[in-house]
Symmetry: C2
Subunit: 365 residues, 2 copies
């Protein structure tokens, strides 16, 4: 697997090189970290990737000298900038007069950096980057799926261990610390995103950050978190109960699982992504809970925790083999509590494969 990663990246660069001229571009300057990593292998925080028809180079600084060479492993040339990345880029372009138009990532480049690009590379016509790299990233190759599955596995191991530490009187933040500690112990490079631990009525806040609220008997307890393995991020949610579940808790959990099952069944290659959201929402609407499901059913995961395809109501994406997405319906009763259950799922020929293996049944601690 490792031996072939250089080939995989060379193929990605080759596909980009076909795509750019189709948009009237002579090349592109990529600065968004996940895109740089996807194309070159470089994982440092300061990388600028110049892709031209016949060559590609990564510009970084002295801090990353060894790491960059090791990670790109010959896929692209490495240049160390002494006076900032854009100055080094301009130096590189100075005798490449055939390069007239270059793409840049308008949603990631700051106004200050765009000015510097314009000033230092005055002969270049700067155009918006088409979503070519994001399009490729939405379809995972087997290596990427393997890493995502590993990130799911780490998250599930950490979850089991963290739940075994739960006791009444523990603060949400303490439990979050236990969970993140176990993630790291099992090999996560860092939380995949800001860990959510919410309890009691706070479970009705879909984006609650862990507070000092203390867990009490009868509480719903919601954990939404993920691990990072080789840069790839899992994203799972489980909602459990401290003690015996009350009927209303059991009931909304049931509705959420039914909505999730419907969404999973609609994950079929070739279908519009918005139908996945629709399938879950229809069931919840029938149950009179449509208004209580205030977010979308899911999103792609990979080098970023939110990437393509987007599974929301107005999404124009189409489900494709190789997508890896979350499926995460939720029901939130303001002031009382909420339930969300989230799986990570790979789209395969004719259907789906769930990467998460934890039971979805309502667990009573």
């Amino acid at each position: 697997m490792i031996a072939s990663s250089g080939d995989v990246r060379r193929e990605r660069l080759a596909r980009l090189r076909v795509d750019l001229p189709a948009h009237g571009l002579d090349g592109a300057v990529i600065c968004h970290g996940p895109n740089v990593r996807y194309l070159s292998g470089f994982s440092g925080s300061n990388g600028l990737l110049l892709v031209l028809s016949e060559e590609a180079c990564l510009i970084t600084d002295f801090r990353y000298e060894d790491q960059a060479e090791e990670e790109v492993n010959g896929t692209v040339e490495v240049l160390l900038a002494t006076d900032g990345g854009i100055a080094a880029l301009a130096d590189r372009l100075v005798d490449r007069t055939h390069v007239r138009s270059l793409a840049f990532e308008a949603e990631h480049v700051t106004v200050r950096d765009r000015r510097e690009l314009g000033e230092r590379c005055a002969s270049v016509l700067w155009e918006d980057m088409p979503p070519a790299v994001e399009g490729m990233r939405a379809i995972k190759d087997p290596d990427e799926v393997e890493r995502l599955a590993a990130a799911v596995d780490v998250a599930e191991r950490a979850l089991d261990e963290a739940l075994s530490t739960v006791r009444e009187g523990m603060a949400e933040r303490e439990l979050a610390a236990e969970l993140e500690y176990r993630l790291a112990r099992h090999g996560s490079e860092g939380p995949a995103f800001d860990t959510i631990v919410a309890s009691g009525e706070r479970t009705a806040l879909p984006h609650a950050s862990p507070s000092q609220r203390r867990l009490a008997e009868g509480d719903l307890l919601l954990l939404d978190f993920g691990a990072t393995v080789d840069g790839y991020r899992s994203d799972i949610t489980r909602t459990v109960v401290l003690g015996a579940a009350k009927p209303w808790q059991r009931e909304i959990h049931e509705h959420v699982l039914e909505a999730q099952a419907a969404a999973l069944e609609s994950l079929v290659p070739g279908r519009p992504a918005r139908e996945v959201d629709r399938a879950a929402r229809d069931l919840l609407e029938v149950a009179g809970l449509g208004e209580r499901f205030g977010h979308s059913i899911g999103h792609g995961i990979g080098l970023e925790v939110h990437e393509g395809p987007r599974l929301y109501r107005e999404s124009k994406d189409v489900i494709q083999v190789g997508n890896v997405v979350t499926v995460e319906p939720g029901v939130y009763l303001s002031g009382e509590g909420g339930v969300r259950v989230e799986e990570d799922v790979e789209v395969v020929d004719g259907g789906y494969r769930v990467l998460t293996s934890s039971s979805r049944a309502l667990r009573e601690l």
Copy 2:
């Protein structure tokens, strides 16, 4: 203290309102998270603060409804955007025809967002934001120093505990997990920055991220990390030895401590910040180690881990009462190992006060 935080922020806004007209501006749109938090108290990830001469409002989204009201606590008005922050901003400005020129943060706003500002707020003249907020932030008030001191305290407690877990054969990443777990247990909201744990010859890499390298007898072991308390970040470094220190290890540690003492003595209000770097560098040059000290002596800390004043060779900043800075000389012998010792220091009348209290002596584990 808490009761007065609204007053502190109102005073900051008042100072900004004096500064903006002096630059020919009718107001400013602040989007950089630490600046938004400094002025309004809001700590969420999606905030846009409009400051005009007679009013100020924070624009965020429904996820932050409760949190925003609680955090700003009446200092500014809160608006919830349904169609994106810039659209809400435009709505707000539509009947404020006296607003002609607004500042925006060119080093933080993306090209895409800048375009949207231009399109939706077509009558506004957009100018670069002067470094007014960053200038205020470089001088801490007593509340801020207290939070930084708390963040130092949490970091030092976590360090002591983490060092007690060190054993031969442990991976750097395992130790980083122990350290971050203890930071969280002592109340850190998250690591202040990416934790550095380096051992053996890897201590010669000033920016090493924790690897799978296993600790061995005789290794230097370098930990550079911090805690976050109420958004304020500490940043400390200690280098220890596993077992008995070798003479060369002891020697470079001595040189580093001497350089640090010299730098501390030059932390005098009114002096050029570059002299702090100079003081440490002079001593290391005399010892023939000037080339082995490849970074600057330090930087301000606060809501960001790197902020003003900057203590590098060409810095134009001047040391002022209320600055809180790191003082972190290092000596790195490629292929052998490195030593860095880093204190967090407040500048006070006539001198300095070290916030870190851990011994600087070379510790043998």
